[in-house]
Symmetry: C2
Subunit: 550 residues, 2 copies
């Protein structure tokens, strides 16, 4: 017999560690404890079975205990909660959740992948029978049964993170009226507000009532009334609570392992805890933010799977470091896709890292080929070096591709200049001769090169109030249809002949529809001795944001 490895948790991190360990060592003794009935299920698919988009429940159960034991020669014990780690003895205590039987099991190496649990604020009314969180198969089954038995006409989803958004969509698909309540002034915390605004529009368009900047304070009358900070009271036949998760750290804490400030288990680059024979991974740990180097928690499936690989190897003597988490994430919201990688503008601002931003609105593929859809793409980078800090995109098509390409560029240490250089696949149904990512590279490099200066959508109103002069270089028709108040219309193609209408002694702000014509105008004016700043993202980004804050 080889090493004896005990694993706590049988889903993303735990199951993947078990199979990896077996591939590396036929002789190892591998015991996996899972508190629940199911191992290796598709957490990420849960919301979609509730609506029936994923019809077949069995599809979510990727592996069975028997199947996995047979194939990988494992000792998987479900319904088995690990209740304590006895570090001195190198044993864990187990309690069978059905029989109550308790026993201990020794380990040479212990791997913790216990995940996270939904945050439930201490509000008595949240214990009502119509209040649910969603983390695993039984949670899903309960919500589905509740829908079938009670046919609720309306639901309140509390929390606008990705699980809240997916639940809102799937409840709408299931024929339930949904009100989504989010304490922050935007949905989708990891993206910036002007991109979240596009998602918010999509939610409203699909019938979701959205209440932003308002948290719950109480739940009353058997869970049928949700009371908000604003005093508003919502009717709720069903409540989904999805305001985030907290690491499952009790075992680790009780065993005296080091925890981070927000409760994540602390690990080194090889994912060893403060006890080197205990590894931890997945939603339960604190990781390093790949961009800013600060400790953070990013409860997503990719990191858990990757970390399992690294731990499997480390246990078998091969050192692969975990370089931190970039936090690439994506969510489908009705017809839209919203995705992000790296750091957001608001995060960088909060931690005081200087950055620059570009907004562009390219088409997903050649405009002349049917089906092209506008993508709103934001790239965030270092003004001095062009180093990439992050990117966000929202649109109906091609969003995942562009974010994946930029995530790859970040992992390759590429800068905004290198984005220009990416030789991406082009034919009319797929992209343009300059892909949106190339274009973002061109636009951003011009800022790093000092060829253009920009202002952002949220700065414009104040600047104009303070007396700034702004020209809008779109056509008269476009300007007439909607404009930034106070902007003067000089269509781009007339600009060279109307220079005398412009002040030479002050900074001229320029806007157009998406930023391109404004950039062309900037180049003309700069070379004629004017000082200019172009509105990045143009009227498009401005108006999305303006609609949001009004």
């Amino acid at each position: 017999m080889g090493k004896k490895i005990v694993i706590v948790g049988g889903v993303a991190g735990g199951a993947t560690t078990a199979t990896k360990l077996r591939r590396l060592d036929e002789k190892a003794e591998i015991v996996l404890f899972e508190r629940g009935e199911f191992i290796s299920f598709a957490n990420c698919g849960l919301p979609y079975h509730i609506s029936g988009v994923i019809e077949d429940r069995k599809k979510l159960l990727l592996q069975t205990v028997e199947g996995m034991n047979a194939r990988y020669n494992l000792d998987i014990r479900n319904f088995s909660e690990v209740t304590a780690i006895n570090r001195k003895e190198k044993t864990v205590s187990i309690k069978h959740v059905q029989t109550g039987e308790e026993y201990t099991e020794s380990y040479d190496v212990l791997v913790l992948s216990p995940g996270a649990k939904p945050i439930v604020p201490p509000i008595e009314g949240l214990k009502s029978a119509n209040v649910f969180t969603l983390r695993n198969i039984p949670d899903m089954d309960k919500i589905k049964a509740y829908l079938e038995d009670n046919k609720p006409k309306n639901a309140v989803v509390i929390g606008g993170g990705f699980i809240g958004l997916e639940m809102a969509e799937n409840l709408i698909h299931a024929g339930v009226n949904v009100t989504l309540v989010e304490k922050l002034p935007q949905v989708m915390g990891p993206v910036d507000p002007e991109l979240a605004a596009i998602v918010e529009d999509e939610l409203r368009k699909n019938g979701v009532e959205l209440i932003l900047g308002d948290g719950i304070t109480d739940v009353q009358e058997n869970g049928t009334k949700v009371v908000l900070e604003s005093g508003k009271i919502l009717d709720a036949e069903l409540i989904i609570l999805s305001i985030g998760v907290r690491p499952e750290n009790k075992l680790a804490a009780d065993a005296g392992l080091d925890l981070g400030e927000r409760g994540g288990i602390k690990v080194n680059e090889y994912l060893q805890t403060s006890d080197e024979s205990i590894y931890a991974m997945g939603d339960a740990i604190e990781v390093t933010d790949y961009i800013n180097g600060q400790p953070t928690m990013i409860p997503l499936a990719w990191p858990a799977n990757r970390q399992a690989h690294i731990v499997g190897h480390h246990i078998n003597g091969r050192k692969i470091a975990y370089p931190g988490t970039l936090g690439t994430s994506i969510v489908k919201v009705f017809e839209l896709t919203a995705a992000t990688t790296g750091n957001s503008e608001k995060l960088l601002r909060r931690i005081g890292i200087p950055y620059e931003v570009v907004h562009i609105h390219p088409l997903s593929h050649a405009g002349y080929y049917p089906g092209a859809e506008q993508i709103s793409l934001k790239v965030i980078f270092d003004r001095e070096t062009g180093k990439l800090f992050g990117a966000q995109a929202v649109g109906k098509d091609g969003v995942d591709k562009r974010i994946d390409v930029i995530a790859t560029a970040i992992k390759g240490g590429l800068s905004v200049y290198d984005l220009q250089e990416l030789e991406l696949a082009y034919a009319p149904p797929f992209s343009s001769a300059k892909d949106p990512v190339n274009m973002a590279g061109y636009v951003a490099s011009n800022i790093v090169d000092g060829i253009i200066e920009t202002v952002q959508h949220y700065e414009v109103d104040d600047l104009i109030k303070e007396g700034a002069f702004m020209i809008d270089v779109r056509t008269e028709k476009e300007h007439a249809q909607g404009r930034i108040e106070g902007s003067k219309n000089i269509p781009l193609d007339d600009l060279r002949s109307r220079l005398d209408e412009l002040p030479k002694d002050e900074i001229i702000l320029i806007t157009c529809q998406v930023g391109l014509r404004g950039y062309l105008a900037s180049r003309i004016l700069q070379q004629n001795g004017y000082k200019v700043k172009n509105l990045t993202g143009g009227y498009k980004t401005y108006s999305i944001f303006k609609n949001k804050i009004q």
Copy 2:
């Protein structure tokens, strides 16, 4: 007045150079000559207007002469063929193609972006009125008019490159029966035959009659009979000739500029020709292959656009090197997408660079979420270092994304190990917790690490003939439905208990459906002292290839 720059060619490279030059310098004198009527049109969209997929012809005309002159203050002269470069005088000779007027124009800097022209073999019958090539708007108009006027029932498309494939598809959409003839034993030269085979299947499924490994030798009876090398004679009411392009090098050759072996204009890393005041770009030039460093020609839109940027800057004093062309390309063929980046296996074999290959067949997104489609993904890399040489993919969904990610990884200098590390956007509608690209990284790294040895689909039959022992670790049912002749079925889950059926003294070949179970079997057997090789891509790749060669 600033520098006087003369540009030859008004489409991808030429038009883009002109606008870039203007953005960089308001004062430059920029004269652009275009032989045809149209500048700045969408070459790549031409096949789609022929079928009506792109309904509106105007959509293909991205810019007009007037529009571009107005916006960019250019001097664009269409219908104007440059007939000679007089290097000593620094002038070009121009002939107006309608009026016949001839004159010269001086330049400080000359930029050549004359493109390429379709290859037409010296066969008299190809001059018949029903034979067409497709390069520009008038070509397209002629084909469309011929279709409308003559309503041909059948067409022969000669050449299975991407234009031939697009034409075959669009003619089918237009209600024409299509026979596609290709001299090579496969369509899509840049990809390897076992991936091309999937495209060939798709063509046949959609009614295209495919004749591979057979070239044309003659065209007879007014273009109505196409005679093939095999002696076969095809009826043709319409013939599309798309066997490739040759660089438009006459101007350059006459002016004594250096040309490459196959006729591409030679340029340095800043795209200067052998005369430093003359730049060249686009389809007309020879480039360096980004992977293998050898001279090549890659007539695609991305390089032309990128080179225009570099030339624009170089003329204005900023040096950006062109690092060579990777050759990322993509084509839609009915429901399928086929894409490639970097070097193919057959190219590497031909030039003698040692390589390794993995074939995988992952789903485009989580299998439990509706709409997941299998992707056939091949990654080619250096066995010693894991350096990426290229990748190819074919499938219905998510192909473009994976090839773009790998193209980005190549440009970032990443290896197969780094592919594991890419933190790509995952939610069930978009990917899996391990994206196909991650998975390719895992599978390929195992080869570099020496954890697994593989054989390829084209080696298996010979090995078995020579007496090799092969096990198929799929289920009995799968094995019964189709198998490699001579393989012995031992289902993976029984393997540990049936080791005694295997020979210890010879290499055991292993196969399964796609390679995963074969890999698991390999690990079990290796650790029990057996010598094994796994068939990469499994029965899936083997059977696709086998069907093709039969």
